[in-house]
């Protein structure tokens, strides 16, 4: 039945399932022709391996560069810039609040701190400009911040000179001083700080995108490296078996060496790419994400602390500053609450639950994220101190509400234990220390990634790969040349 259903067989030599014409054209019916063809396939496979491995390593290098050397450090530099700028304005507010009560001892301290932050802002801006060398828009933004800073200093100095002349008691200065300070703080709040903060966010966005794209690329190209590596090994093995069978030899040592080399190279490349993907992940999720979260928390915290000073300084805008204080507090640590009173109650309850069991993170916001991602004593210390600055705030507002602005000012600006500025510094130190811990994780991952890319027996992977591929090709040529010579 079957035999009758089959159409007449095409004219073909028996036992050959492939069409014979191209075989003859390529000279594949002869042994040297087949050796040449198999050798060509092996060389192509090695070249293919070289190309995919090169692309894969390029992806890993790009990922490390963006995350570890460009946008990542940019986030830190612009975070420092924001903090220094925001703290300058905060210190100006404190100077204006202390008035003639120089014995508060705080005026000079605030002035010193102002100059320190001015210098920090300069350094951070220069660093941010250097890191954004490849991004003209970011560079223009940094320049614009520095230009604005010049104008800010003029206004701040004028406010402080007028304040000195006014010689008022601790508390809000006279209206003409407040008017100049409003110009200064508006310039800071509406022009300078947004630019610095947006640069931090843009750095974060760049890192997130680079991580998603480059890690996926490293992982998928790792598969390609493995597949093409296997293909090259198979081609070499095929050639080896063919030569061994035709020439009745056990092994062709050059081909065997090439095969062995390629096996080692493939395994090393796959291992390298796995390592690079792991380092990218460690740098991003183990370090960078928290650096960004905590840098933002630090920036917003400084700005809410400044709103506390401004609340006392400028009674005409007290409502605005109170509402901004609440909004910013909730951004940093969110508990459901309609006003500051409810916020303080909610915060106490959430902290009580947290201290009873640090796994009970009933709050959201930056610290909610951080406490869930990296529970531990470092976060607990920050939370305790955050609660302390909120308790100070409550006392300051109570005093101010009762009309005792002098006492409120002393509590706010004092730099000894028990005053708001002191407690805020302690809080900020805890935040900086946690950022430092994450920075160490981040740096470690980037360093390991860089080292593995740069390290192998023959040195840099970029140098090793072409050399190894070329070596394998030479070995193939050497291995088949001796056999082909037997046909001359």
């Amino acid at each position: 039945m079957l035999a009758t259903a089959t159409p007449p067989a095409p004219r073909q030599r028996p036992g050959r399932w492939w069409p014979t014409a191209p075989v003859r054209r390529l000279g594949l019916q002869t042994t040297p022709g087949r050796i040449r063809a198999l050798a060509a396939i092996a060389v192509l496979a090695i070249a293919g391996f070289y190309i995919v491995a090169n692309i894969a390593i390029g992806n890993a290098r790009d990922g490390l560069r963006v995350i570890g050397h460009d946008a990542g450090p940019q986030v830190l530099a612009t975070g420092d810039l924001f903090f220094a700028l925001s703290d300058m304005d905060s210190q100006v507010a404190n100077v204006l609040l202390t008035g003639r009560e120089h014995d508060l001892g705080t005026r000079q301290q605030a002035l010193n701190r102002y100059s320190q932050e001015r210098a920090t802002a300069d350094r951070a801006a220069i660093q941010a400009a250097e890191l954004s060398a490849s991004n003209p828009i970011d560079q223009a933004t940094v320049r614009s911040v520095l230009d604005g800073l010049g104008r800010y200093e003029q206004l701040a100095t004028r406010a402080m000179v007028l304040n000195e002349q006014a010689n008022h008691p601790a508390g809000p200065p006279p209206g003409h001083v407040i008017a100049v300070y409003r110009q200064a703080t508006d310039l800071m709040k509406l022009e300078l700080l947004p630019q610095a903060y947006n640069l931090t966010l843009e750095g974060g966005a760049t890192v997130r995108e680079a991580y998603a794209a480059k890690r996926a690329a490293v992982l998928s190209s790792r598969l390609w490296v493995a597949l093409v590596g296997l293909a090259a090994i198979a081609a070499l093995a095929g050639l080896q078996f063919f030569v061994a069978a035709r020439f009745r030899r056990l092994v062709n040592s050059a081909l065997a060496l090439a095969t062995l080399g390629l096996i080692v190279l493939s395994l090393a490349a796959v291992r390298l790419l796995s390592g690079e993907a792991a380092q990218l992940q460690a740098a991003k999720t183990g370090g960078f994400d928290s650096i960004l979260t905590m840098s933002r928390a630090r920036a917003i915290s400084n700005s809410l602390h400044a709103d506390e000073s401004r609340f006392l300084l400028d009674p005409g805008r007290a409502d605005t500053y109170s509402l901004a204080y609440l909004d910013k507090s909730q951004t940093v640590l969110y508990v459901p609450s309609g006003n500051l009173g409810e916020y303080h109650t909610g915060l106490s309850a959430a902290m009580k639950a947290y201290h009873a069991n640090p796994r009970t993170v009933s709050f959201l916001g930056f610290y909610g994220d951080e406490a869930r991602a990296h529970p531990g004593p470092a976060v607990t210390s920050i939370l305790t101190r955050f609660q302390q600055i909120q308790a100070d705030d409550q006392r300051i507002r109570r005093l101010a509400g009762a009309g005792d602005t002098q006492q409120a000012t002393t509590l706010l600006t004092g730099r000894t234990a028990g005053s708001s500025s002191y407690d805020f510094d302690q809080y900020d130190k805890a935040v900086v220390s946690l950022i430092g811990m994450h920075r160490a994780t981040f740096d470690q991952a980037i360093r390991t990634g860089d080292r593995e890319l740069g390290q192998s027996i023959l040195g840099n992977w970029a140098a090793l790969l072409p050399l190894a591929a070329l070596g394998a090709v030479i070995l193939v040529v050497v291995g088949v040349r001796a056999r082909l010579a037997e046909y001359r």
């Binding site: 828009i137 509406l190 022009e191 700080l193 947004p194 630019q195 903060y197 947006n198 966010l201 843009e202 974060g204 966005a205 997130r208 995108e209 998603a212 996926a216 992982l219 998928s220 790792r222 598969l223 390609w224 993907a277 994400d289 960004l292 979260t293 933002r296 805008r317 409502d319 605005t320 109170s322 509402l323 901004a324 609440l326 909004d327 909730q330 951004t331 969110y334 459901p336 309609g338 006003n339 500051l340 009173g341 959201l364 916001g365």
Partner: protein, 280 residues
Amino acid sequence: MKRVRATTRSRAGAAAVLALAICLPSACSAGGPPSIVGEQSLRIGVKADQPGLGLRAPDGRFAGFDVDVARYVAAKLGIRPDHITFVPVTSATRETALENGSVDMVFATYSITPERETKVTFGGPYYVAHQDTAVRRGDTAIRNVHDLKGKRLCAVAGSNSWKRVTQELNIAATLVPATSYSECVAMLLDRRVDAVSTDDLILAGFAARQGSAVRIVNAPFSDERYGIGIKKGDLGACEAANRAVSAMYLDGTAAALLHKWFGTTGLQPDTHVPQFEGCG
């Protein structure tokens, strides 16, 4: 427009299958929640009854500052103008509309608040407005927000403005419920409420319309950051929206739009790029 969306989605699906095919099973993580980045059409929620910001004309077209900003941002996201569908939303429906996917983005005088951020991802803010209070022309008793104590204050469902007054500032005003600010202004003129307290941009739009019947007390007491509402977790769209807003301020479009819509109201809008909220 439906068809455009369907083909984009199926193309995105095919791309995802392709991406999976070249990924090692152990290595490929899900690439986060779906994003509206790469869509070819968008449904954008805007207000329909707020002059100057989002107002629907009798012919069904929408116009206002929010609408123009939405068009600009959508264009930066690669959406052709005729592929934008504006959908009216109210203060009470904004979150639901984003959550159930009936709109992709919201530009509707949508103040960023920590509470809303628990449900929505906010791009921007694209503008920072300030809450102020509007009264009837002849009413001189109300000079700032604290004078609202004991007065009848219009409270729009889903709006944050009345909460600022009665909850955050603890001012004991009597709340009179309403569904929109256009209703509030009507109630103000009918003497059913004594004051409408909300963002200066919204009040300016109504004041310009009502002529001399309404007076803004000009005592701003808050910063209201107008955010771009995006489905919670769509970080790619949020970052793209922020870049678009940066560009809008950089190329002068923001200043031009603010002048176009509020140039005659006596407001002096700020033309510097606001501090973004951040997407994560």
